[in-house]
Amino acid sequence: MINLFQMIFNTESRFTLMESPDSIFSGVLRVLFILGSLMYLIFAGLVIRQVSLMGETVKVPSTGLMKLISLVHFAIAVVVFLIYIMIL
């Protein structure tokens, strides 16, 4: 029933055989996207740590700005991860 609803809901979009909920390819792609975004989330977290480490080593006035950018980058990564879970 839910699958049928999804198919009806997606009538505006391009319809291919891949849209079928039973499609292995679709499932694999979904898992890959979510796993990839999860790995990217870890990378974004490491970037925050890296900026902090860099700021401790070389004390430059722009370190605050760099930390802010790294935090925004992490926040975007979280949003993308959530979007992937919701739409895929």
Partner: protein
């Protein structure tokens, strides 16, 4: 009989005051001369603030973690922006790549939601790549102080490498420049041979390599002068 003058006490007092003055001399006079006094290269340079610059003589608002209390920064260098052209061009290409895929219809077999997800992920990764490359450029600095040279490298996400060599250990300095861009923008490599633990330092793609080599040579001469004066004292 009241003692007006005691020769013994006077001698001891004089000796103490002389010792005190000798001990306090390095602190009061600063021991080391100002860089402007001995460096022809630095004499004409004004103090600079770090505003994402790659050539910062006499930096005002910069410091580093292993800096000694009395160590003064003379020059801070980053690689010339012309050396970063590869990743900048790659980032621009990555930005336009999805539009190319749409035009060619490469992923037309994918449903819209995967298309959208791919777009999002692609641009997120491109931004991440650009930020990472910029951080690498911004924090990989080459520092020249009045006591040593320091090379700070961040090779990967969490790896850092700080190498330093005292000026007195520097044996040879070579400046080289090759390529059209290097000739136009005046940047190149400076190689420094040392007698320390790390035998060779390389400052690749830094601005004004000849000027930097001259500055390091002036610092070596100053170090030798200090040594000689130290022996005389």
């Amino acid at each position: 009989m009241p003692e007006i003058f005691d020769k013994k006490d006077h001698k001891q007092g004089a000796r103490k005051s002389r010792e005190k003055s000798v001990k306090s001399e390095p602190e009061s006079t600063g021991h080391r001369r100002n860089v402007d006094d001995y460096s022809e290269v630095m004499r004409h340079e004004k103090p600079h603030r770090d505003r994402f610059s790659w050539y910062i003589p006499k930096p005002i608002d910069l410091a580093f973690s292993t800096q000694a209390e009395h160590e003064r920064l003379i020059m801070v260098l980053r690689q010339h922006p012309a050396t970063q052209i590869k990743w900048i061009l790659l980032a621009v290409a990555l930005m336009f790549m999805p539009f190319l895929f749409i035009f060619v219809g490469f992923f037309d077999f994918l449903p819209d939601r995967f298309y959208f997800a791919g777009f999002l992920g692609w641009y997120l990764m491109t931004i991440g790549y650009m930020f990472e490359a910029f951080l690498k450029w911004y924090y990989n600095v080459y520092i020249i102080t009045d006591e040593r040279i320091i090379d700070i490298d961040f090779n990967s996400l969490i790896n850092r490498d700080i190498s330093a060599a005292k000026t007195e250990n520097i044996e040879d300095v070579t400046a080289s420049s090759s390529g059209i861009l290097a000739a136009i923008f005046d940047y190149g490599d400076v190689r420094i041979q040392t007698a320390g633990e790390k035998p060779q330092f390389e400052f690749p793609g830094i601005p004004y390599p000849n000027r930097m080599a001259a500055l390091i040579n002036e610092l070596i001469l100053e170090e030798e002068r200090e040594k000689i004066e130290g022996r005389v004292r």
